[in-house]
Every structure is written in structure tokens, then in C-alpha cells.
């Protein structure tokens, strides 16, 4: 994980800083064009802060999305994990956990630097409890996201390229989770429909916790919903593994 020092810092600055910069320029222009001080309850500074937490929280939840499972299936990298006395999904899970640990470190460095340089945005009060609620909710959400991601990559057992399918699903999940836009900006009926899915608990809800817009009962509710969704998704993932590994031909050896 720490083998590539340049990659560590480039990943951090490029992906996070660019995401936040885009949000800043876009929303500044929208607020000034509209002449509005608030949109769906968000002031400009709170809107930018939403994207700051979406960028950091998103990295924590989504982890390393480099399709390593599909690649392992396509180039035969899975073979060694079939030989080792360990479950493949646990190995990938350990990699994801290592990635999340690094992200947490980056998040702490990034947020403290940002708050030290720019100060706290107007209307935002920093509370350790909110950070704890947001981080734990992100961690729970990352388990659910991980299971969905693994299940999607297991499709590679049947199809020769899973990239298009995976990108489509990931884009949809991120859109419906509120990583691209706060869910409050969506039409009300769509918002209601989205809350029947696990997606708001992956993005929008943890972000609201960071922003101090959630209470402990909402934290409990969000985590319960994530756990409820983890059970069927884990079942689906396991089923895809059992069926898929029979199709594996161990190419490359």
C-alpha cells in the first residue's frame, strides 16, 4: 500500500482536489446566476462542504474500484487464491480494508489542512461526534458497496468484458447515492423512491452526518438499513461465486 509514494499523494490531491474544485466553480456560478443565497436548504459554503465530504466519504465507501476481481478472473490471477487455504473474498476484503485505512489517513490530513487554511465555513460547526457518526456510517456503507462491487465483478465469470456493465452500475449507484448531487435537489417522488433502495445510506446519509444534519436515531436507522441490505446482497454474491467459479478455466497457465 505504501510502496508507491508518488501514487499515494497523486491519488489524494488529484482526485479529491479536482472533485472539490469542479464543485466549487460549478456551484459558485449557479448561486451567482440565480442570485440565491440558499438552494434546497444549502448555502454556497455548505454546498461546497457537502462535496468535500462527498469526495472523502466517497473514497472511503467506494474503496479501490480498479476492477481487480474481474482482472483476476480474466488473466488467471484468481488461480493462486484458489490454491491458498483462504477465501478469495476475504483476501479482497483485506485489501479493501487496507485501502480504507490509507483513505482515513488521507482524510484526516486533507480535512485538517483544509480547515486550517480556509477556516470553517459559515454555518458549520465542527463536532468530533459528527465525524465519528459519519466515519462509522461510511465504514458500514463501504461493506455494502464492497459486496455489490464484488457481485458485479463476478459477472466476469460469464462475460468476456465486464467494464461497460460495471461502469454503468457504478455511475447509477453514485448518482442515486447522492455523491454527484444532494438528494434534496431531486424531485420529491424520486427522493421517496430512492429511500426504498440502499443507495441513500451509502452516500447522502453519511454525508449529512458529517455536516451535522443527522441525529443518533438517524445514525442507527441508516446502519440498520445498510445491514438489512447486506444480507441479501451477500447471498447474491455467494451464489454468483459458487456458480461462476465452475466456469473458471484458469487462463494464463
Amino acid at each position: 500500500m505504501f510502496s508507491y509514494r508518488i501514487d499515494f499523494w497523486v491519488q489524494f490531491f488529484v482526485s479529491i482536489a479536482v472533485e472539490i474544485a469542479i464543485a466549487y466553480f460549478l456551484w459558485s456560478s449557479i448561486y451567482s446566476t440565480e442570485g440565491a443565497s440558499r438552494i434546497s436548504g444549502y448555502s454556497l459554503s455548505m454546498m461546497i462542504l457537502y462535496y468535500v465530504f462527498a469526495a472523502f466519504g466517497g473514497r472511503l465507501v467506494r474503496g479501490n474500484e480498479r476492477m481487480i476481481i474481474a482482472t483476476d478472473i480474466y488473466d488467471g490471477g484468481l488461480t493462486k487464491y484458489l490454491l491458498y487455504p483462504v477465501r478469495y473474498v476475504y483476501v479482497i476484503g483485506a485489501f479493501a480494508l487496507a485501502f480504507d485505512t490509507v483513505t482515513l489517513l488521507q482524510m484526516a490530513i486533507g480535512l485538517s489542512t483544509m480547515f486550517a487554511v480556509f477556516g470553517l465555513p459559515a454555518g458549520f460547526e465542527f463536532h468530533w461526534m459528527n465525524m465519528l457518526m459519519g466515519t462509522t456510517a461510511c465504514f458500514m456503507a463501504s461493506i455494502l458497496y464492497f459486496i455489490i462491487y464484488v457481485a458485479l465483478d463476478f459477472v466476469a465469470f460469464w462475460v468476456d468484458t465486464v467494464w461497460g456493465l460495471s461502469m454503468m452500475f457504478r455511475f447509477s449507484i453514485q448518482f442515486l447515492s447522492g455523491f454527484f448531487l444532494p438528494l434534496e435537489l431531486f424531485p420529491k417522488p424520486l427522493q421517496r423512491a430512492i429511500y426504498y433502495t440502499p443507495f441513500p445510506y451509502i452516500g447522502a446519509e453519511p454525508i449529512k452526518m458529517f455536516l451535522g444534519r443527522s441525529s443518533w436515531p438517524q445514525w442507527v436507522h441508516a446502519n440498520m438499513m445498510v445491514m438489512l441490505w447486506i444480507i441479501p446482497m451477500a447471498g447474491l454474491m455467494q451464489l454468483l461465486w459458487w456458480r461462476g467459479v465452475k466456469n473458471y478455466s484458469g487462463v494464463g497457465i
Binding site: 490454491l83 491458498y84 487455504p85 483462504v86 473458471y248
Partner: protein
């Protein structure tokens, strides 16, 4: 007692066919044609503890598929397979802790990590006790002479060094079953020799049941007493390596050391007369040496004629190169194979 056992093992792969060109690609997008490809047909083999079975065959013959099935990577279509009393496809941890697969063509170690970090990771995966890990690592590192490369990233090692690290990684947990799939491929002669020597030492010490696939006949000759020749998914010969020579070698090589230089008069006179009525052919002529390829049944007759008619200082009779014999067996169609009893 056999450690590895297969009975009537068969494997069929389903692959899709695509007609050439853009039109073919469009057609495949809508409707795919599938082809059933038989990789193994009724393969029955047995390997005992301390034995190295050489699996020999041309590319695509089914050697690697058989190894993959035995290692639990691929599921067999039909037949029985047992490794240490387990079905490898069930991949029980108990079995996986006793098996190793070394693939010359596929790196198993983590490229971004130094070798020693990879070994530590494997120690935890295989749950090797710390003392045993330390002892095994010391023995393996010393035997293969890679002490100075342990803390270098795998991606920065040479092919030979990487292969040695792969061997260490695979044998750290002292497996009872070892599959070696072309372990010396692409290596220089020194590295090949070192690996062969190490495999023999390891076998002597731990007596695992081993299956070796290799296209290098030197690997087979030096490591295996028994071979199985696999052709188009079928075992066509399973028996002692020495038996292949006795059974299938059609010629012997006669080497003659002439008393004087090999002149044109000897070449066109005595030698030409000698060969005229015998089934022998000249393989090599140089200064005072001649090598003749002689039908096995005619060896005595040719040797006696040489001694009578040509002034020589030395005569030796050698077997035909075993690699050539096996290669002929693998390539030739219509060869009548005769499998010996499994040793």
C-alpha cells in the same frame, strides 16, 4: 499407496466461435456459436509419495488441464479424482494446506512486495508456526542461494531469481503434493540445473508426490523415473522412463574412433562398402570420428563388420536420445503405444 489418483477423468470446455472480420463480430453480437472442446478423455493415473511423474505432451495436449483439475482450480466434467483422499474441487482448507502448484508461466507472488513480505503473508495464510516457518525459510533460501534478494521487490528480480522465490513460496508449508508446471521455462542453463538439483534434494528430504510437466526433456530425464505421455487429452503411455527406450527406440548410435584421419579413400572405400548392405546411416563425420545410426537388430552385425574391416581405436554403443524418442511418440500419428504398468 497412491496419493494422487484419477479414474476416467474427462474435461470438456465450451468455447465460442467467431467468424473472421467485422461481419463476424456483428453476428457474434447477436448470436454466438459454441464449440465443445474435449481437453481430457478418460484419464487414469496414480502417483505415490516420493514419486515424480513426468507429464509429457505437445502444447494443448491436456497436461495443464489435468494439473488444474488436480489442484482444484478447474472442475472435471466427469470421472473420479482423489488427492490425499480429498476431492480437490471441494477445495477444503485441509487439502489446500498440503498442496502446492508452481507455475513457470504465471507469477503467484505479489509483484509490489519484496519476497520476504510475500513469505510472511503466506506464513499467515497457511498458518505456519513461527519456528517451522523460520527453519523452512532458512533451508529453502540457502538451498537456492537467494539470501541477497529477499528484500527486493518481486518485480525487480530476474526471471531465474523470481522462479526461485516462487519455489520457496510454494514449499514454505512443506506440501505433501507438489505440481510443477514447466518450472524451468525460459531459464538459462545454470538456473535450470539449480532448480532441478533443488527439486531432487527436496524430494529426498520430504518425499512429496509430484507431477512435473515440462517441454525440456532434460527436466524429465533427470527428475522422473516414470512418465505419462498425453496426446489429444488421452494418456497414451504410462510407465517407466527407461522402458520408453527399450520399447520405442528403433536405433542405437555407434561411435567409432578411427586409428588415423578419416580420408576420402576410407569414406568412399571401406565405410561405403560397410554401409551398403546394412541398415545404418552416417550421423557425423569429422577428423577421426564417425557416428552411425544403426537399427537395433543390426547393432551386433554392424559392430562386428566395423571391427573386421576398419582400423579403429575405440567403439562405443549408445542409446538413442530419449528426448527424440519421446518427441516422436508425441508427434507421430498411428504409433502403437504400449503402456507399462504404473510403477
Amino acid at each position: 499407496m497412491a496419493v494422487i489418483q484419477t479414474k476416467n477423468l474427462s474435461k470438456t470446455f465450451r468455447v465460442h466461435k467467431k467468424a473472421a472480420g467485422f461481419k463476424g463480430s456483428l453476428k457474434a453480437l447477436v448470436r454466438r456459436e459454441w464449440l465443445e472442446k474435449s481437453a481430457l478423455q478418460n484419464v487414469s493415473i496414480e502417483v505415490s509419495s516420493g514419486e515424480i511423474l513426468g507429464l509429457v505432451g505437445a502444447n494443448g495436449a491436456g497436461k495443464t488441464t489435468l494439473v488444474k483439475i488436480l489442484a482444484g482450480i478447474v472442475c472435471a466434467s466427469s470421472g473420479d479424482v482423489s488427492v490425499l483422499g480429498h476431492n480437490p474441487w471441494q477445495r477444503s482448507n485441509e487439502l489446500r494446506r498440503q498442496v502446492a502448484l508452481i507455475m513457470g508461466q504465471k507469477a503467484q507472488l505479489w509483484w509490489d512486495l519484496p519476497a520476504e513480505d510475500c513469505f510472511l503473508l503466506l506464513r499467515d495464510i497457511y498458518q505456519i508456526p513461527h519456528n517451522q516457518y523460520r527453519q523452512n525459510l532458512e533451508f529453502l533460501v540457502e538451498s537456492l542461494g537467494v539470501q541477497d534478494q529477499l528484500n527486493i521487490q518481486i518485480r525487480r528480480l530476474s526471471l531465474g531469481e523470481r522462479m526461485k522465490m516462487e519455489l520457496i513460496a510454494a514449499l514454505l508449508h512443506t506440501p505433501k503434493v507438489v505440481y510443477l508446471d514447466e518450472p524451468t521455462i525460459g531459464l538459462d542453463l545454470t538456473a535450470q540445473r539449480a532448480i532441478r538439483k533443488f527439486i531432487l534434494e527436496y524430494r529426498k528430504l520430504h518425499k512429496p508426490a509430484m507431477i512435473l510437466t515440462s517441454h525440456y526433456m532434460e527436466d524429465i530425464e533427470q527428475l522422473c523415473e516414470r512418465i505419462a505421455i498425453i496426446k489429444e487429452g488421452k494418456i497414451v503411455y504410462d510407465g517407466e522412463l527407461s522402458r520408453v527406450v527399450n520399447k520405442y527406440a528403433q536405433h542405437k548410435i555407434l561411435s567409432l574412433e578411427m586409428a588415423g584421419p578419416l580420408t576420402d579413400s576410407i569414406r568412399q572405400g571401406e565405410l561405403a562398402n560397410l554401409l551398403k548392405n546394412l541398415r545404418a546411416e552416417v550421423l557425423l563425420e569429422e577428423q577421426n570420428r564417425v557416428r552411425l545410426k544403426v537399427a537395433r537388430s543390426d547393432v551386433a552385425q554392424v559392430a562386428s563388420a566395423v571391427l573386421q574391416k576398419i582400423a579403429i581405436t575405440d567403439l562405443s554403443i549408445e542409446e538413442e536420445d530419449i528426448g527424440n524418442i519421446i518427441e516422436k511418440l508425441i508427434r507421430r500419428d498411428g504409433v502403437k503405444y504400449d503402456s507399462g504398468p504404473a510403477s
